[in-house]
Symmetry: C2
Subunit: 141 residues, 2 copies
């Protein structure tokens, strides 16, 4: 989660939305990323999607043994990507400022762990308070 | 759907997976795309995601009045993107060669129309028969 938080901080420094993610396979980070809505004018590069894209094309044998660490509860799009690739576990920094599709993950057998890490909560709370319009755009509201 | 089929054919000509999509708002195409797994070495650019990305950042007022045309039944990731942005309708070329997460779309109030267009069925059937490994990679199998 420390590495996902680093990605979130990097996004903030770039003027973007502070959400980060890393994809882990056999205890090694094989993909890392952060939200790129502002930086790339992207509608689809949430942190989790960016990490998956940066990990490159992988086989199902790899995905099904991966863990995805993300600083924020994953939205329905990112949860869908987790389910497409049958990623076995998602570790979530926090779900206090936004609750994504954790239920759908759990219902489909994905292990979900929520840390409610105070660093993640603080970062998102401040960002949402200061950028409500941008935040709503990111979650389709 | 003709325009989505054109995108699928374009992908095939580029050596890629023949799936195309277009995003329509007020009867105009505002985003178009095709699967870019092969072309961009992408793990996330399914046709629907590519069309959404190419449409750029839009407000919820626009998304909720959009229709997404796709040559193939959308997987759980692409269906998740539709739900994130509350796209009102998805028109599907065919769901005979692959059945995506149509149930999840319908359950969440998205209008779903399946054409079972023979052009789409033929294109995917031939592609899957000739490229089973690549196809399985694209759907996380």
């Amino acid at each position: 989660m420390d590495e996902a938080v680093k990605e979130a901080n990097l996004s903030l420094k770039e003027g973007g939305i502070p959400i980060g993610a890393v994809l882990v396979y056999e205890n090694k980070i094989i993909g890392r990323g952060h939200n790129r809505r502002v930086q790339n004018n992207s509608a689809i590069l949430h942190a989790e999607m960016d990490a998956l894209e940066n990990a490159g094309r992988l086989t199902s044998d790899v995905y099904k043994n991966c863990e995805l660490y993300t600083t924020l509860s994953p939205c329905i799009m990112c949860s869908g990507a987790v389910l497409l690739y049958k990623i076995k576990k998602v570790v979530i920094g926090e779900n206090k400022t936004f609750l994504g599709a954790e239920d759908l993950l759990i219902k489909n057998g994905v292990a979900v762990e929520v840390l409610n890490d105070e660093r993640c909560v603080k970062m998102m709370k401040e960002f949402i308070e200061n950028n409500p319009k941008l935040w709503n755009e990111d979650i389709g509201e």
